[in-house]
Symmetry: D3
Subunit: 174 residues, 6 copies
């Protein structure tokens, strides 16, 4: 790190530190991004929530008692993207410049694609993944009364195939 | 979005996506600010809380049982400004460089003006509005024991005329 | 406070505390609710956002570029209700058992009513007020591109008449 | 809702409300749990993260540069459980009395089981699901440098089969 | 855990779990408090911040440029108490019924005592400690411009002797 | 602040503001950092937690019932660094580029050093201090069952000598 107005570490109370046992193995730490250039970065993640036909029909008809499923899930996904720096312990807080969410429905599943863009010093794939898993959990929460079987379980609903499907980076220092 | 080290979207699980029903109408989304230049921006909002004379007198005399009304409200307003990106679902998180709060008292109301400055890619009027409404709510919370009438209601206290009163932007790319 | 397994306060470092200047005047503090019985409580708050006819029409037609205004505002309001304990510095965290939001539109304004219910030891009027002001701010955020005039200002939009309109309490210890 | 010290809704500013257009269809709302008895509830969710053998080996050997993968993921999962009330927009905040996390590794995947217990008025399956998806995302974040291929993508890593595997409820009012 | 409407764990995807390596040693986990009775609990913590005489004088005279030191620190301490469940990873969220903060000044230090009360199933000593350390950090933040020496360091300011000084518990099930 | 597309403050409702009593003395406010250049800044803080030999031995042997003490404390410290902007009321949110945590154990204490780096417009010593005090509080939480004496108190455990030990700044505008 730089010179400058260094404060010498002679504050007295650490004279005996050489006797200490340092404990560092396997220590979790953030990646130092201080020397990385700022770039325009984009990451897209996608995943599916397997659902019963009854849930798919209720979502299509906007007939879910708890309210508008996709509008609620979109906002849950966007908020999850913005909160990734606190949800994932070693993530940095980066400036999110854009979030796009896209739902698709087929007969027995809903898929959610989340695209995130940033101009920060590190990528945004974790933000995209958090958007997808949280958005799908919100959908689960909205339709779980429909999914529940006679034993109180949810035999059909399952999150599947959540993965990063696109990643790009372009230097901003041309 | 940029080219670069693109990851091709051929992850296999999406072969049938063309059959899906895409669901996009009315979808909430953040505004893409990635191509906006950084500017020095300032927004000022103001609002009033109608109060009984007894509350105004108690605030003036610093004689409210719950404590210092204005000091508490100032901090509530500043924190609200900083948290706007999570309170308002589609707001971006922007770097807040300055927040000023100013209270004024007349015989039957307290007014609060909040000025916010940022160097981000989007304006800060929502931050200023959140500062005003939250600050006024904090004042309400501090004096509600004084405002309460014999039926347990608050016939006088009301937030009024909260609006953006100033907005400026200056390019940082001169 | 109770007896029991008291830890005597003789930890040594406080021998000289009698010489200290205690600083208590005007100190902000939470209300002690430890001896209050649990009750079923309900509070309703309501407020208006004055809008241009163009914004009202866009909301009615679900034709706002940023997305579904009311769905987004509802969720913003509900989240604000749940976060009141951290937004209002001296509020307690209470169990929110129900939140209802209701919008109404007339030609030049939108009104929002938020009803909150709790079984806690203190009332929930601040939660209802926070729901109303935040929900109205979310609406402002969604339509501000429509409200903006040629000078970049918002001459019409203003939050008005936010107040507690109902409060009830019923003992749970019958 | 109960009688008691009702505040009549005659605050004056609403005289014209009958003329308004009420906007309620499809409105998102929390479930009213005020009349539900408190129960001891437990929910268990489980999911898998497909990984390359290199990542599995690195986790087993505690040889991941970012630090101890499972310790970090456990804490991420526990925190996600506790934050579910704000991550999932319509969830209630319930008292979490216990969280157990269990990881298992096989040659090409890691599985995470999260068990959550509460004494609240509503179930905790969303808390368990949030614990699983967040915990798996944390593992992804820790090993993504190992998973990255020559194109900067993550062809192997995918979250699979996240579901609720157990749910119980026992009345506390015997 | 209780019987009841158990959902059998036969969801299919776990047939091979017996082959897995379970990874449990040293696993962080919350304490299960589900069977603990609710009690009225109180914990008090106290600590000191060593300061230069100039800072003490400025606090006494309410002449610190950043504003009212003690009002700001009180609110910081109260908020920290309420947020302990998320700051300390394995803490439970408990209902805080009361928080008292008390400052004392002598010639070269400020001391802060924070008393916390709860009716929850676990103690509140961590809440009291978090209140003290955060409150002292807020004071440091407010006076650091006064404390700074010619080299940009803070040779005098140090947090000292933060400890739990009182703890009581009284059963609520008489 | 800049000229530009100013919105004149003539919104009507403030005509009588000259009659108001302005209330500004001692008002808490953030420091305006809008004109400060961005710099590479680093701050290091350090502190100790006095512990009984039994706790030190349990930490060394990784034999604490609540789990891995140091892994949990590291994450608590890193999260506290990232949350300083909301914990310390007048702090700005700055981009944290790096956080390093280092523990050392001697026979009757644990010390924690936290180094924080940022490229923001203001220093990060408060972030480093928050990392240290929170990290030490997490350790306290993990070992408090070991520290507890027959009266339920913690006679030995105390946080001591928390101070800033290094501060540097290097201009990024060379």
């Amino acid at each position: 790190m730089p010179e400058g107005d260094d404060v010498a570490d002679d504050s007295g109370s650490d004279g005996s530190r050489d006797d200490l046992t340092h404990v560092e193995d396997g220590a979790a730490s953030m990646v130092d991004v201080g020397d990385k250039p700022e770039s325009a970065r984009r990451a897209v993640a996608r995943g599916r929530l397997a659902l019963s036909p009854a849930s798919v029909a209720a979502i299509r008809a906007d007939d879910v008692e708890k309210g508008d499923v996709l509008a609620t899930a979109r906002i849950g996904a966007i908020q999850a993207v913005k909160h990734t720096w606190e949800t994932i312990p070693l993530c940095h807080q980066i400036p999110i410049t854009n979030v796009d969410t896209e739902f698709a429905l087929d007969d027995d599943a809903l898929s959610l694609t989340v695209a995130v863009e940033t101009t920060g010093q590190t990528g945004c794939e974790m933000e995209a993944l958090e958007g997808v898993t949280t958005g799908l959990n919100v959908v689960f929460d909205m339709v779980k009364a429909v999914e529940k079987d006679g034993d109180g379980g949810y035999p059909t609903a399952a999150i599947e195939d959540v993965r990063v499907v696109e990643k790009t980076k372009r230097s901003l220092e041309d």
